[in-house]
């Protein structure tokens, strides 16, 4: 069946999902970060009683509201796509996704939406303290709703706390806490929210710089910059720290993604980290295309140290992972494909035994799916079985995309931290705004956190290809057998709708920014 699968269906379905997720992610990080910045500003207002801080709070709250309103529910489209375009996957993971997403819907969304209303409409209608509490709960509610979808995503990257039920073809939760507190989930959440806080800080600094350049609302702009830069420095340090932890987890759990991020083909101890480099595809005389460096600047030992906290740690390259490395105990993809095929065949025989009422065979085969040794030896490689007879290169993610996305994200993240430190330092000295060129840098930096955030997701999602559920379900199995034309149609509808919404957001935001904190 997979031999006849139209790869353009898989590509269009992936493209459609990526488009929707990336569009959704334009709004989410700003909502997450700006809600906390507004809460800090609101707290200063309540503590000082200074009307200037009330104006500042109201202005940023308004921008938060516009972003929240346009962005809200764009994520629901992803759930539509699960049911339509990824129905096999949706069934396969149903129970795991069901619980976290239901909690998200019931707890966080209602908490968030209730307190958002009090936050916006509560001025002079509820007590100052209750109003402030609502603002803080909105901020925490926003982050709380992000937890669950990130936990679900982390489970796809590292499926833990579950057991596969061969009778229903579904994964069933065996330990909720293992899923919630897996290192992948905890770190994904922390890295995502801290980077979102950083994004919002850069947004506030950038918008404030525009006011300073025009010599408008100077006090408002300077005060906003101080709050944002303090928040930005803390968030920036936390983002780098969680990013480092993330690299360590990926290096151990998803070595192919890690190798692709660094375009590392030949594994080594004392592996250097490529700080900057450019790639060129080399196809001559090789069984699969290989990305060679045109140039690179390396930091010696840093890659090994990043993962194992010692330079002598062995970092497997793409070649080691594909062809195996006996010395390092890495089994080849050919071997994994064979073992995966055994697991698929066992599942097939189990199904047949059930259909013909062969109780003895059924019981014997069913036991295998409860046997830890068999699960480790065969079921762990289940997804590889679908690549029997297919090209090995299908199991390698897009190296160029992973490499560049990773390095762009890291470079921009470093720039944001340094820039936030400069903004904070000059603000504290009351010299922020004296240098026009720095204000221009702030404005030019404003859209960059979105690029960093999107490239971060590209690394996470493109780097784990072809897996939808890591090593268990590849995209070719997960996709619904629709016609590519049907997927293309909805892709273009989404693109048109999203473009209009995006332009509307930018226009409304720009209008409100131009009006300034005193505008209605």
């Amino acid at each position: 069946m997979l031999d006849s699968i139209d790869m353009s269906l898989v590509d269009w379905s992936r493209g459609q999902f990526a488009l929707t997720a990336m569009f959704h992610w334009i709004f989410v990080p700003l909502t997450l970060g700006l809600s906390f910045i507004v809460a800090f500003m609101h707290t200063i207002y309540v503590r000082t009683g200074n009307e200037e801080w009330k104006q500042i709070t109201k202005f940023w709250m308004k921008l938060f509201g516009i972003n929240f309103a346009i962005g809200v529910s764009t994520g629901i489209i992803l759930e539509f796509e699960f049911g339509t375009n990824w129905s096999n996957y949706s069934w396969f993971v149903g129970d795991i996704f069901g619980a976290p997403l239901a909690i998200e819907g019931i707890l966080a969304f209602f908490l968030e939406s209730t307190f958002v209303a009090i936050m916006f409409f509560g001025w002079n209608k509820v007590s100052k303290r209750f109003h402030l509490t609502a603002t803080w709960l909105t901020a925490f509610g926003a982050s709380l709703s992000a937890i669950w979808i990130l936990v679900a995503n982390a489970w796809m990257q590292k499926p833990v706390g579950t057991a596969f039920n061969p009778e229903t073809a579904r994964n069933e939760m065996t330990n909720f806490w293992d899923i919630l507190f897996s290192d992948m989930a905890v770190n994904k959440f922390l890295h995502t929210i801290t980077s979102s806080f950083l994004l919002a800080s850069i947004f506030v600094i950038g918008v404030s710089a525009w006011f300073l350049l025009r010599k408008r609302e100077v006090l408002f702009a300077k005060r906003s910059t101080i709050v944002a830069s303090v928040f930005g420095v803390i968030a920036g340090i936390a983002t780098i720290f969680t990013g480092d932890t993330s690299a360590r987890i990926v290096g151990r759990e998803q070595p192919m993604k890690f190798a692709a991020m660094e375009a590392l083909y030949d594994g080594q101890t004392h592996a250097p980290l490529v700080a900057i480099g450019a790639l060129r595809t080399d196809t001559a005389g090789l069984p699969m295309p290989r990305e060679d460096f045109i140039f690179k600047f390396e930091i010696p030992n840093a890659l090994s140290y990043m993962v194992f906290l010692t330079p002598s740690g062995f970092i497997p390259g793409i070649t080691d992972l594909v062809y195996g490395n006996e010395e390092q105990g890495i089994i080849s993809y050919e071997e994994k494909i064979e073992r995966g095929a055994v697991a698929i065949q066992t599942l097939k025989e189990l199904k047949r035994a059930k259909e013909r009422g062969d109780e003895a065979t059924y019981t014997a085969l069913r036991k295998k799916f409860d046997d830890p040794q068999w699960l480790k030896e065969y079921y762990q490689h289940f997804g590889y079985g679908y690549y029997k007879g297919r090209e090995l290169k299908e199991l390698i993610p897009n190296v160029k995309m992973s490499f560049y996305s990773f390095h762009i994200m890291v470079m921009l993240g470093t720039h944001f931290l340094i820039f936030s430190i400069i903004a904070l330092w000059l603000s504290l000295k009351n010299r922020w705004g004296n240098h026009k060129w720095l204000l221009w840098v702030a404005i030019l930096t404003l859209p960059m956190p979105w690029i960093a955030s999107q490239t971060g997701w590209l690394v996470a999602e493109m780097g784990r290809q072809p897996w939808v559920v890591y090593e268990l379900m590849p995209n070719i199995t997960a996709v619904t057998r629709l016609t590519p034309g049907a997927v293309q149609l909805t892709f273009w509808i989404f693109l048109a709708t999203f473009t209009v919404l995006f332009i509307a957001e930018i226009k409304i935001l720009a209008t409100q920014i131009k009006k300034g904190p005193g505008g209605k």
């Binding site: 069946m1 309103a69 396969f92 409409f121 209608k125 073809a169 409304i508 409100q512």
Partner: protein, 67 residues
């Protein structure tokens, strides 16, 4: 109490001078998402095609075991 809550929301929305265009966009967006996309383009395939979870399981098992 319900009356107060209603008044709170009602007056809040009424006083949103900057929000009318925004509400228009939100309503159009929700209409496109739920009344057009969901209804005509994004059916839940397994829910639509099969009547029971057993049928759905069998279908997915078939997809998983006949690659």
């Amino acid at each position: 109490m319900f009356k107060n809550v209603f008044r709170f929301y009602y007056e809040g929305f009424r006083s949103m001078t900057w929000g009318r265009k925004l509400w228009g966009i939100i309503l159009i967006k929700l209409f496109i998402m739920f009344a057009i996309l969901r209804l005509f383009f994004f059916p839940d395939i397994l829910q639509k095609e099969f009547n029971s979870d057993e049928e759905r399981s069998n279908y997915v098992l078939e997809q998983l075991t006949n690659p």
